[in-house]
């Protein structure tokens, strides 16, 4: 028996530690520990309701757009506002642009170095001038007397990486290209979002930028740049990783329960990706009344599971038996996985044909069985498939915009009210709940994607989705947790979000 501790887990957003107990080369127990707390919900109480979108999007620098939208929708519920069709479409376009930047960032900057060994580039002997230049760079670094040569690409955990020099050099070149592509996606988001990260123009009632024909085509031109990379490079690289690391098509299997809040409102208000749950392959409509946050294993003092409408935050850093700053959200008393895989599973279960086709095409290319979607590779595949579908769909939202028509509803103050704002962040279901009393925020609660996925044990001792996904994972003690890191990163952790 050995304890394998991965701390800090890098190449994620935020502060995460994963502990696993290993017996006979397999994980038999796992603990997911969120290691940072700020207290956003507390500091919102007593403030002006319109402060909420400005402040809550700063919970996370990777998915601020999702927080802004959840917050605006919660306020719209509390204040009785409705965004006009242009406002809904602009939100979906800004959200979509940030999804593309986040998904590309996740695969290349955050995950690729789990599979690609930069040192393998040294053996590249091919003619491609770009790749030869990369090889020369790695050579120069490795031979230098720098304290940490080739940082941040080295050092890395020991383990079985792809050793093919041509593929390694190509993947490293794509890593560098992806940096520019995600910057481009942020330029795109800023056209209607004002600036990124942390937008300016998303307000209760819509989007302040308005719809201008020139801006629409500006957005379209940049979208096509990003789309080209997503379809030709990102998707291909994910398929290549799947073919080279088939073990991860069975590793990282969670409970097979998926939750989506639905996202990307189209002009009519109907979300492009539907809300709902899938458990044991069966779809059910979403009922947010079934959500409660348990804190038995979390560093908070509340004594019973609370719905976010009644939620409270009473930090207790040294609470006995607690091991995480994350709460443990449960739906009908059980844990659910959220994220691109969950969204596509829910969409496919409601019969969405383009989603089904994209998934089956990708699975065939990656030589994976449909059941293999519930795995570390399946999560990467679903994320890439979603990016491809989204980039295509965004063109239709651009076409639906009505230049000159309003994009924001007139604001009306209302002293009292409650609202629930649901959307999806790149990494899963996001909900904000607000209560306004006397023109001020009386209570504000967020239930965030990584809180679902990286949840510690529930009050009944049941593991969270990631804790469950690690059970049974084969690990090589010499790799110091590399296998664990690969499974953990497939969930795209965002711990600043998860704890907030």
């Amino acid at each position: 028996m050995a304890l394998v501790v991965l701390d800090p887990v890098t190449r994620i957003e935020g502060h995460l530690r994963i502990d696993t107990r290993v017996e006979d080369g397999r994980v038999v127990e796992a603990w997911s520990r969120g290691e940072m707390f700020r207290g956003f919900e507390d500091l919102l109480a007593g403030r002006d309701p319109l402060d909420a979108p400005v402040i809550t999007q700063r919970i996370c620098g990777v998915c601020p757009v999702s927080h802004a939208i959840a917050s605006c929708r919660a306020l719209e519920g509390a204040l009785g506002l409705a965004a006009p069709p242009n406002g809904r479409l602009l939100r979906s376009l800004v959200l979509g642009a940030n999804y593309l930047q986040s998904h590309v960032l996740h695969f290349y900057q955050l995950s690729a170095l789990d599979f690609v060994d930069v040192e393998a580039v040294l053996s590249y002997g091919g003619p491609d001038p770009g790749l030869r230049e990369l090889r020369a760079w790695v050579e120069g670094e490795v031979r230098s007397n720098r304290v940490l040569p080739a940082a941040p690409f080295l050092p890395r955990l020991p383990g079985n990486y792809g050793e093919d020099p041509r593929w390694s050099a190509g993947a490293l070149a794509h890593y560098l290209e992806a940096l520019e592509v995600r910057t481009e996606a942020h330029r795109m988001a800023a056209i209607f979002g004002g600036k990124l990260p942390h937008t300016a123009s998303l307000v209760p009632g819509g989007v302040t930028t308005g719809v201008d024909a020139e801006a629409v085509e500006h957005f379209r031109a940049r979208l096509r740049q990003v789309r080209r990379f997503v379809e030709n490079t990102y998707l291909t690289d994910v398929i290549e990783v799947a073919r080279r690391f088939p073990a991860y098509a069975t590793a990282g299997r969670a409970a097979g329960r998926y939750l989506s809040f639905g996202a990307f409102e189209e002009g009519t208000g109907k979300p492009w990706l539907p809300a709902g749950t899938v458990s044991g392959g069966v779809y059910a409509p979403l009922d947010t009344g079934r959500i409660a946050e348990e804190v038995g294993s979390s560093r908070y003092a509340s004594r019973k599971p609370l719905h976010p409408r009644e939620g409270e935050i009473r930090p207790e850093a040294s609470k006995a038996g607690a091991y995480s700053w994350l709460q443990a959200p449960r739906y009908g008393g059980v844990s659910y996985e959220v994220g691109p895989l969950a969204r596509l599973q829910v969409a496919a279960a409601t019969g969405a044909q383009p989603v089904r086709e994209a998934l089956s095409h990708l699975l065939a290319e990656a030589r994976m069985e449909p059941a293999a979607l519930d795995s570390a590779l399946g999560r990467h595949a679903a994320r890439a498939a979603e990016a491809v579908l989204l980039a295509r769909q965004m063109e239709s939202w651009l076409d639906a915009l009505q230049p000159g028509e309003p994009s924001v509803a007139p604001y009306t103050a209302r002293p009292e009210g409650r609202g629930e704002g649901l959307t999806e962040a790149p990494r899963g279901a996001l909900g904000h709940w607000i209560e306004v009393r006397g023109q001020k925020i009386a209570r504000y609660q967020c239930v965030v994607p990584s809180t679902w996925n990286f949840s510690p044990r529930g009050d009944g001792g049941d593991p969270g989705p990631v804790e469950a996904a690690l059970l049974g994972l084969a690990v090589d003690p010499d790799h110091k947790g590399l296998e664990v890191a690969r499974v953990v990163r497939s969930f795209d952790p965002c711990i600043a979000c998860a704890v907030h």
């Binding site: 002006d48 941040p152 800023a190 600036k195 123009s201 302040t208």
Partner: protein
């Protein structure tokens, strides 16, 4: 670029003068500058109570772009979001870097002085890691309003005692050249420009909040495209409406930053051009006073 020893000595003198320090440290500072300019500058980037928005903003750098930054300009010893090293390898990389010293330490996020458990990095409270790293740094660059002034985590009730980097260093009795680059997040050009200035030229001229004057020496309002409308008192009265955003709550009149002529994300847009008020995210007391709302629409109607 070629720079001789005399240049480094001169820069070191300026650096020390800018910090109000005596000449005894001059040879040491000159050597540091020389080393940094000789190749990829060693940078150690630590995240405390942060949202990673400053890191994401850095990756939006335009010229040099993010790929050049990582492979040609900076030697990023450790960065929680980018380092290949994870777990044991990450802690070893951190220790090797700290042992070598001589890096530019960049801090992102606040320090939970009252509740050390509220931010741990590799089992260690962030505040302690920050102290260890700062003692061996050539200079510290606090990026983002949280690291510079406490930011949102330090807004009341501030249950973790979230504090700026400077306060944590002062508490530990550490004196090290310190530069503040506030913003939520800071513009990538503010970060890259001042890193280069610091490494190639020396300490930039700083104001009383330790902000480089060349970046924060002007009010956003002064070059705002709505400046003339402000003068004519043509104010927006509804969200997204035409005119100057002042009466909706725009803080451009009290915010020191160059957004109004620099623009964001490659210049495609920025807050006020997107018809949104400036929320003053680079101000020292950004988000700190709950009674000071970002929008004034709930004050019984916007005064006409």
């Amino acid at each position: 670029m070629a720079m001789d020893r005399r240049t480094f000595l001169k820069d070191a003198g300026l650096l020390l003068a800018g910090l109000g320090l005596g000449p005894a440290l001059r040879p040491q500072f000159a050597q540091a500058l020389e080393e940094l300019a000789a190749g990829r500058a060693p940078v150690l980037w630590l995240q405390g109570q942060s949202c990673s928005g400053c890191s994401v903003s850095l990756l939006n750098s335009e010229r040099p772009g993010p790929a050049e930054l990582l492979t040609r300009y900076l030697s990023l010893y450790f960065h929680q979001t980018l380092s290949a090293a994870t777990g044991d390898a990450a802690r070893e990389a951190l220790e090797r870097a700290i042992e070598a010293g001589g890096y530019l330490l960049v801090t992102e996020g606040s320090v939970p002085l009252a509740v050390p458990e509220a931010c741990l990095v590799g089992h260690e409270p962030y505040g302690r890691l920050l102290e260890r790293a700062a003692r061996r740094a050539k200079a510290v660059l606090s990026v983002g309003t949280c690291a510079c002034f406490g930011g949102i985590p330090a807004a009341p009730p501030n249950r973790t005692g979230a504090a700026p980097t400077a306060q944590a260093l002062a508490k530990a009795g550490i004196t090290v050249p310190l530069v503040h680059l506030p913003g939520c997040p800071p513009h990538p050009a503010w970060m890259v420009g001042n890193v280069v200035h610091l490494l190639r030229v020396g300490m930039p001229a700083l104001d009383e909040h330790l902000r480089p004057v060349r970046t924060y020496g002007q009010l956003l309002h002064d070059q705002c495209p709505h400046f003339a409308e402000y003068g004519r008192q043509e104010f927006a009265t509804a969200l997204g409406g035409p005119g100057c955003q002042f009466k909706l709550g725009c803080q451009g009149v009290i915010t020191h930053a160059d957004c109004s002529h620099r623009g964001w994300n490659g210049g495609v847009n920025w807050c006020v051009r997107a018809r949104a008020p400036c929320v003053g995210c680079a101000r020292p007391d950004f988000a700190r006073d709950p009674a000071y709302a970002f929008y004034r629409l709930n004050e019984g109607g916007v005064p006409a």
